[in-house]
Amino acid sequence: MKKVLVIDDDQTIMEVMKIVLEEEGYTVLVDSKGTYFSKKSNPLPDIILLDLLLKGEDGREICKTIKADTRTSHIPIIIVSAHTSKEVEKAVGEAGADSYLTKPFDIHKLLEKVAQFT
């Protein structure tokens, strides 16, 4: 079963993403602080859905760290943000993410994106 890591600090969004993805058969891992990878024993996900604006943390930096680590650099990262598409496009380029989705998203588009990268 493919594992999707959702990094978002909004509990409701996390919950609804979990429902949508689990219904499609994904295993959903959640992280509200962007610290998932600091614990080495955590299983590596197949894809990461990353919010840009976390409390006290910049999603761009989290993205860069993941992409800089040889252990995790291969994992596709989809940025999911309430910023405008132009802003997110810019952030994707800067942080080296693989794709993006703007909030509020269509759940079908979310599933399409995840399927595309897993």
Binding site: T84, P104, F105, D106, I107
Partner: protein, 642 residues
């Protein structure tokens, strides 16, 4: 000289004002005729000539029996005996009065002309003129001007060699103000504009002229022997008079004196006129300077192209020092100074925008940051206009630059707030939309069910809410010129089809018809152009509630494409058509039903089109539908500014 007798020819006796044969030949007779002030100097000179054995040459004054003074010019030779003692003095005299007077008058004319053309303060000039006159052609000189308000004659200058006499005259005038109804003197000249000339005034004339004993006494004390009164005429109107009076000098005025007096009066009139004009201009200048000084911005004027080093600032208001710390001198002495202190990031754009205003010969507004002397940046809004020469060529610019730092800061905070608010609003909407879609899936199998219908409506409203938030964010960005664009080559026909398809899906009563096409791909921001089309079609549907058709036409001409959206609805009255593209503008008409919306859609669309180098407009008639259109270059080579 031995016999103490004098012999005068008949002519000589006439020169001295005597009847031939009446001179008895005594020294006393001669010294009685000579002006008392000149007797001693003559004696002195004669003694010196005898001592040095030279001829005696001199000029002195004598009194004629009519009390007038004449100037005598004399040349005499002494004969000596063998012991060197003078025995005889032989000489010729002639009356030099006229020549002497003419010379004085000429000298006065030259000096007065010089004074009249040297200053614009006419009160002071007229005083100097009067002083000059009493050292040449007159003993008294006064200048009187008609007071525009009270109608009386104001004494603006009076002169006499002795200050005591001036005091006396002023006192006299105070006690006897000039009577403007009199048919003589200044009153008459003021009324008629013609000069008055009394070559010689006898005591009988004084008796006749005086209205009473007291005045006669006064006239006699004044001792007038001649009077010239000339008018001061400005723009055909007599505004005052100059009076020259001969008294102690016993000068007998001639026609030549009158001519000189008239000439000087006309030159004085011209000087007064110039001075008044100058004062009026000065007053106006002062008024403008005051206005400019109180403008809370930098008022400026410059010559030359604004992006060239030769451009010279010609004027800059003092406020510049307060705003930026640079002195007016620094501005005026450094070519193109305004641009050298523009913030490096804004320099290229500011120069380009200013040059556009210069070359377009129009007015315009530009915003940029200036660096203060102490290194801080100040946001300014420059409102400027091209200065044209008489041929209509641009030769410079003038304008006013206002400090808008505070406004920019407020706008930045507002933008930050809107950006944050939209972000915060989108988060719960994301969950609501996702849950709505999840529910939709649950009820998806039964599309005829009421929950399914309600959920569809709910999702539509959630999308509307999302669009409104996006519009708010866009409006805020557009206002700052910060809308982001990503150019790409795309097919406008496909985009139009996509937009129509999306909108047709939610339009209940309207059919959206597409006509025409654009053959070439266009270079623009696909999403933004789609946004403009969506906005125009949505408006067309919204403002034609009782109609069933909206026509979208595509066309191309001269490397430009055009998109028109026509509806058959309520139309827009002419007075609203210009303002309809302004931010937050809503058409309010009586008896109109209220339409939903924020009043920013057209504003954003207009900004998007403008930023692509295109144009947007509307043709509409109330009750007869509207056609909104926009056109822009198909393949713009121009860089789209971000």
């Amino acid at each position: 000289m031995i016999t103490n007798t004098i012999w005068w020819s008949d002519v000589q006796q006439q020169i001295y004002g005597l009847k031939p044969g009446t001179f008895k030949g005594t020294y006393k007779e001669v010294s009685d005729l000579i002006h008392p002030d000149d007797v001693e100097p003559i004696r002195h000179k004669v003694i010196n000539c005898i001592k040095n054995k030279t001829d005696y040459e001199d000029e002195f004054r004598i009194f004629h029996p009519d009390n007038t003074i004449h100037w005598i010019k004399t040349v005499s030779h002494f004969y000596y005996d063998e012991l060197g003692k003078p025995v005889r003095m032989v000489g010729i005299n002639y009356d030099n009065t006229l020549r002497k007077q003419e010379n004085e008058a000429l000298k006065f004319k030259a000096e007065a002309t010089k004074i009249l053309s040297s200053s614009l303060n006419y009160n002071a000039t007229l005083k100097t003129l009067a002083d000059l006159a009493v050292h040449s052609i007159a003993d008294w000189c006064s200048v009187e001007m008609k007071n525009e308000e009270s109608g009386i004659l104001d004494l603006v200058a009076i002169s006499h060699k002795e200050p005591e006499k001036i005091k006396w005259a002023l006192q006299l005038r105070k006690e006897n103000p000039p009577d403007l109804t009199l048919d003589r003197g200044a009153s008459k000249v003021l009324r008629t504009g013609k000069p008055e000339f009394y070559q010689y005034i006898s005591d009988e004339m004084l008796v006749q002229a005086a209205k009473d004993e007291r005045e006669l006494k006064l006239f006699r004390k004044l001792g007038m022997t001649g009077v010239i009164t000339v008018p001061l005429i400005v723009a055909g109107k007599t505004i005052g008079v100059i009076t020259f009076v001969s008294a102690e000098s016993r000068r007998k005025y001639t026609d030549y004196d009158l001519q000189i007096a008239e000439l000087i009066a006309s030159r004085a009139s011209l000087a007064i006129e110039n001075s008044k004009l100058y004062n009026a201009v000065e007053k106006e200048r002062e008024r403008l300077n005051n206005l400019v000084a109180n403008v809370p911005g930098v008022v400026w004027e410059a010559y030359g192209r604004p992006d060239e080093n030769s451009q010279q600032i010609d004027f800059v208001s003092n406020h510049v020092e307060k705003m930026l710390g640079y002195t007016v001198d620094e501005w005026l002495s450094n070519p193109n100074f305004w641009l050298t202190i523009v913030h490096p990031e804004d320099k290229e754009r500011a120069a380009k925008e200013a040059t556009n205003i210069f070359t377009s010969k129009q007015a315009g507004v530009s915003r940029f940051r200036w660096m203060t002397k102490s290194g801080e940046s100040v946001w300014v809004e420059a409102h400027s206009r091209a200065v044209l020469d008489e041929k209509g060529n641009s030769i410079g610019m003038r304008g006013v630059n206002m400090d808008i730092s505070q406004r920019m800061e407020l706008e930045r905070r507002k933008d930050d707030f809107i950006s944050m608010a939209s972000h915060e609003l989108k988060t719960p909407i994301t969950s609501v939309k996702a849950y709505a879609q999840l529910l939709h899936q649950l009820f998806g199998k039964r599309p005829d069910d009421i929950p399914y219908k309600y959920l569809t409506r709910m999702e539509t409203q959630i999308d509307k809410l999302t669009d409104l938030i996006s519009d708010l964010l866009d409006a805020s960005k557009a206002q700052q010129g910060k809308l982001e664009f990503t150019k790409e080559l795309f097919d406008l026909n496909t985009l139009t089809d996509d937009v129509i398809e999306n909108l047709q899906a939610i339009a209940n009563n309207h059919t959206i018809v597409k006509r025409g096409k654009v053959k070439r791909k266009i270079l623009a921001d696909r999403d933004r152009i789609g946004q403009v089309m969506t906005n125009l079609i949505t408006n067309a549907i919204k403002y034609s509630p009782n109609k069933d058709k909206v026509v979208v036409s595509l066309s191309e001409k001269n490397n430009h494409f055009k998109v028109s959206v026509k509806d058959f609805g309520i139309g827009i009255p002419k007075k609203h058509q210009i303002r309809i593209f302004q931010q937050f503008y809503r058409v309010h008409e009586e008896n109109n039903k209220k339409f939903e919306g924020l009043g920013i859609g057209l504003y954003i669309s207009h900004q998007i089109v403008q930023r692509h180098g295109g144009e947007m407009g509307v043709k509409s008639k109330r009750g007869d539908g509207s056609t909104f259109f926009f056109s822009m270059p198909i393949k713009s080579g121009k860089r789209i500014i971000n």
